[in-house]
Amino acid sequence: MQTRKIPHPGWNLEYLMFLFTRLSGLAFFLLAIIGVMAALLMGARYQMDLGTLMRWTFFPNPNHVLDSDIPDVTFGWDNGFWQIMQFLIIFFGGTHGLNGLRVVLEDYVHRPFWQIVIKLLIFVLWIFMILVAVFVVLGS
């Protein structure tokens, strides 16, 4: 079996995505900690159960906390700051995840032609997913 090449530092896709995967992985922890701490400061402890708090932590969308005892979601839970947080999570999450899918698929597909096809397909999927998710965030 052919092993993956070690990415050499420089402006190439493999190395940049290697760095991006690590950095966005750390960013998820930061974003989740900001989300859960802000929720607890806004009184989540007495207003929602663990599942609702976890949904909010993964993705701070106001629809995720509708099923709780919050009197008015528009007061603190639904504003531009959380929309920016959602865009960041979508961008980091979509890129991190689809790059991971590319890495896994390229381990099983060795022909250069099909590797290019996979790269293109995943690129199209990436653009599509981010556009759809942006629609959802702006519409919710």
């Binding site: 079996m1 663990l50 896994v104 759809v132 629609f135 959802v136 519409g139 919710s140």
Partner: protein
């Protein structure tokens, strides 16, 4: 480029990679699990929101099932904790000689968090709270 691996599935299972290999394969499985969940959820919420489609609402029942939720909590927690181990090992490659110990430490961190989460989920399921 096209090398045949000449390794059957069962030979692959017998490969004695130990804990770190299990971590590698679980990292892939949990990552793919999250891709499936997030893709389904994004598509379903988009079509529910824009068109109120019945089939989009039907997709919700897939991941609202308790078994899928056990699985997705496993995916998120395992992938996150294993990811921290990978980042630490990449930043300080000299730690690689303690790879096995770190994999054990990782399970030691993972099991209580996952166990407690599952305990609370089952408790809620039984009491219906």
């Amino acid at each position: 480029m096209t090398l045949d691996r000449k390794v059957s599935f069962f030979e692959g299972l017998r490969y004695k990679g130990g804990g770190p290999m299990l971590a590698w394969i679980l990292h892939r499985i949990t990552g793919l699990g999250m891709i499936v969940f997030v893709s389904l959820h994004v598509i379903s919420s988009f079509f529910t929101q824009e068109m109120g489609s019945d089939w989009a609402i039907a997709i919700n029942t897939v991941y609202e099932s308790i078994y899928f939720q056990f699985f997705i909590v496993f995916c998120v927690l395992y992938h996150g904790i294993n990811g921290i181990r990978i980042i630490i090992l990449d930043l300080w490659p000299r730690m690689l000689q303690y790879q096995k110990e770190m994999t054990w430490l990782q399970w030691l961190v993972f099991v209580p968090i996952y166990g407690l989460t599952i305990f609370i989920m089952i408790q809620k399921l039984i009491t219906g709270g």
